[in-house]
């Protein structure tokens, strides 16, 4: 069978499974729609959280990014896993005990204020919309390359599928589809990694293969060879990297704290029965995530060596079929500057090959000449990763609108049925907006997705932590902290990422030397978070303590017993 036929078959089968699950698990009440009825088992929730979390960025882009960044890529590896430790130890158990439906719910109740709730809703929408547009784009890229439809048609097919199960099934449908999607995506990521690891090192386990000797009898270690190649071609040394230590530190921190503050991840912990289940499912989620995240750096090394070996100083005419295929998508470009018909791939001005980092994972099986079904599997896995995250984000958007804005602020006496229908309408609206951005991506989507973490770190994380660990925290402090934190982050982002105040995009590169303390916009979320904490605590000092009921609420969420009951009020 050809790659194309395999792709149609595997994508067809997996989509069929997702739709069948959606029909089987329709949501009948708002509680089922928002939190799947609160009765998901820790294992199912752990797997669903892993799929929810691992997006097109984790599956498609991350290994490719690391491939080009070497050691600097560690910021993603540590940042996007270490956040789960914070989530499990500092947030999940207490938010589960609190037991409502959304993150703005917690902020609104804990800070006894609808202003706080609305600020939280705006932060949640800002973070989720930027994130979801990137997912839709990922769906489009996979469709266009492997199913040979154009990107727009791909986005529309993706929209229809997500619409179907998110709108019909709500959190309940999403949870069980995510479990299936996790299985598809992890299988799809691991299989090519096993194959390539055996091919290159003889060791089937990629995590070990990465540190082994090459199979060619030379006795050279993989990393040694990669460092050698990098030096030879003028790239930065792979295991050393080129970012400053303080920036690596700041980015890792911003990503960790941002992960712990992302609403679509937090909300998953509202779906389990007991506090102990919330703790346990955070552990299971990280275990599942670690499987992919410890494999990704190995894939990065394999792909980098394979790519350099295949293209460097080779005649253009001899390039294999995948090279031409990716050239037509525009993600791989060859410009024969010195007209010698040979590809010079280097780290300096003589470089003739531009490789989009997004193709590394998708092209990897082809570069390594793996069988057709493995190539097709990667396409199905990429779609599973993008769709599962998109669905989780859409749910946050729809519940923020129907529950936090309509029910809690504008129309408190709305009926259960009315709220369920408005949730479905909001989800539909969100899918259409996300699809629009997928088809017409504003140039800054990719940049903003990375910054979404900074925004989450600068807004939610301090408010929630103080809400749990500092009983006397009052609303004035929390609201001013959130507003100052997110504004500072937005300002820094506009100034140094988009150059808004200095004459636009062209000025951005020149501003690097003006970064505060040498910290990049991606890492600035950690500074904005610290500022949020300081502002909150200072303002808190000048205003009265929160009312007695609120302090009792805080006492109560610190004790696990009674979480099941807390859900029903």
């Amino acid at each position: 069978m050809t790659v194309q036929l395999w792709t149609y078959t595997l994508v067809g089968i997996t989509f069929g499974i997702y739709i069948a699950i959606a029909i089987w698990s329709r949501a009948g009440s708002t509680k089922e729609f928002y939190v799947a009825g609160g009765g998901i088992s820790p294992w199912a929730n752990g797997l669903a959280t892993a799929a929810d979390w691992m997006s097109a960025a984790s599956f498609i882009s991350m290994a490719g990014l690391i491939s080009f960044m070497g050691y600097d890529g560690s910021v993603y590896l540590m940042g996007w896993t270490g956040g789960y430790v914070l989530l499990a130890l500092l947030l999940a158990p207490y938010l589960r005990k609190f037991g409502q439906f959304t993150v703005p719910d917690f902020v609104g109740e804990r800070y006894y204020s609808n202003t706080a709730r609305v600020v939280a809703v705006l932060c949640a929408l800002l973070v989720s919309f930027t994130y979801v547009a990137g997912q839709m784009r990922g769906v489009g890229v996979v469709f266009s390359r492997f199913l040979e439809v154009d990107i727009d048609t791909g986005v529309i097919i993706g929209m229809i599928i997500v619409l179907f199960y998110a709108v019909l099934g709500g959190m309940k449908g999403i949870t069980y589809t995510q479990v299936a999607q996790f299985c598809v995506l992890i299988f799809a990521f691991m299989v090519p990694a096993f194959f390539i690891s055996i091919q290159m090192t003889g060791n089937p386990i990629p995590q070990l293969g990465m540190g082994s000797q090459l199979n060619d009898g030379s006795g050279t270690y993989l990393l040694e060879r990669l460092n050698g190649l990098s030096q030879e071609l003028g790239f930065a040394n792979y295991t050393t990297g080129s970012k400053s230590r303080i920036d690596v530190f700041a980015i890792t921190l911003a990503l960790m704290v941002g992960t712990a503050g992302l609403p679509h991840v937090i909300v998953r912990f509202f779906t389990v029965k007991r506090v102990r289940d919330a703790r346990k499912s955070a552990g299971i989620a990280l275990l599942c995530i670690a499987l992919l995240y410890t494999t990704a750096p190995a894939v990065a090394v394999f792909a980098r060596i394979n790519l350099i070996d295949t293209v460097s100083n080779q005649p253009y005419a001899n390039m294999p079929e995948w090279f031409k295929n990716w050239e037509t998508t525009g993600l791989l470009q060859f410009d024969d500057k010195n007209q010698d018909g040979t590809i010079q791939y280097t780290g300096d001005a003589n470089n003739e090959l531009t490789v989009d980092r997004d193709i590394m994972v998708l092209a990897n099986p082809e570069i390594a000449e793996l069988p057709a079904w493995v190539v097709a599997l990667v396409a199905a896995g990429g779609l599973a990763a993008a769709l599962s995250t998109a669905a989780g984000l859409l749910l946050v958007i729809s519940s923020s609108i129907s529950h936090d804005l309509i029910k809690k602020v504008f129309k408190p006496n709305i009926s259960e049925k009315g709220e369920l229908w408005s949730a479905r309408a909001a989800a539909t609206f969100a899918v259409v907006v996300a699809g629009y951005f997928g088809i017409n991506p504003p140039g800054f989507v990719a940049a903003v997705v990375a910054l979404a973490f900074g925004l989450a770190a600068a807004s939610f994380f301090p408010a929630i932590i103080l809400g749990i660990f500092y009983k006397k925290m009052n609303r004035q402090g929390a609201i001013s902290g959130m507003i100052v934190g997110i504004s500072l982050m937005l300002f820094y982002m506009l100034k140094f990422k988009f150059g808004v105040f200095d004459g636009g995009k062209e000025a951005v590169a020149g501003l690097q030397s003006a970064w505060w303390w040498g910290i990049s916009p991606e890492g600035f979320g950690s500074v904005a978070m610290i500022v949020n904490f300081m502002v909150a605590l200072t303002v808190n000092y000048f205003y009265p303590d929160p009312p007695k009921e609120v302090q009792e609420l805080v006492e109560d969420i610190r004790i696990p017993r009674g979480a099941g009951a807390a859900h029903t009020h």
Binding site: L77, Y84, V85, Q207, Y221, T239, A290, P297, I559
Partner: protein
């Protein structure tokens, strides 16, 4: 002993666990993987420089362990103070 006193003790024991576990969390990632990376890189583990390995592999394994240790400690603590479900 009265109930609020009990709860106070439960909470401070919880905080002690958090400080211990988060210190390890900090040491393996920000410590070994970033601040002391260059120092650790002089040691090789198989084909890996140690600091590089901590940043791209080791820290992640420790994170997973930390959560499961926390789960076990808290389940025991919940039972001891009779606040489990």
């Amino acid at each position: 002993m009265n109930q609020s006193n009990q709860r106070q003790r439960y909470w401070s024991q919880n905080l002690r666990y958090l400080i211990l576990l988060l210190s390890i969390w900090f040491l393996v990632s920000y410590g070994a993987g970033i601040l002391f990376k260059d120092f650790l890189d002089q040691f090789m583990v198989g084909g890996f420089p140690l600091g590089f390995w901590m940043a791209q592999q080791g820290a992640i394994y420790v994170f997973v362990l930390l959560i499961f240790v926390y789960v076990a400690l808290m389940n025991r603590l919940d039972k001891k103070f009779d606040v489990n479900e």
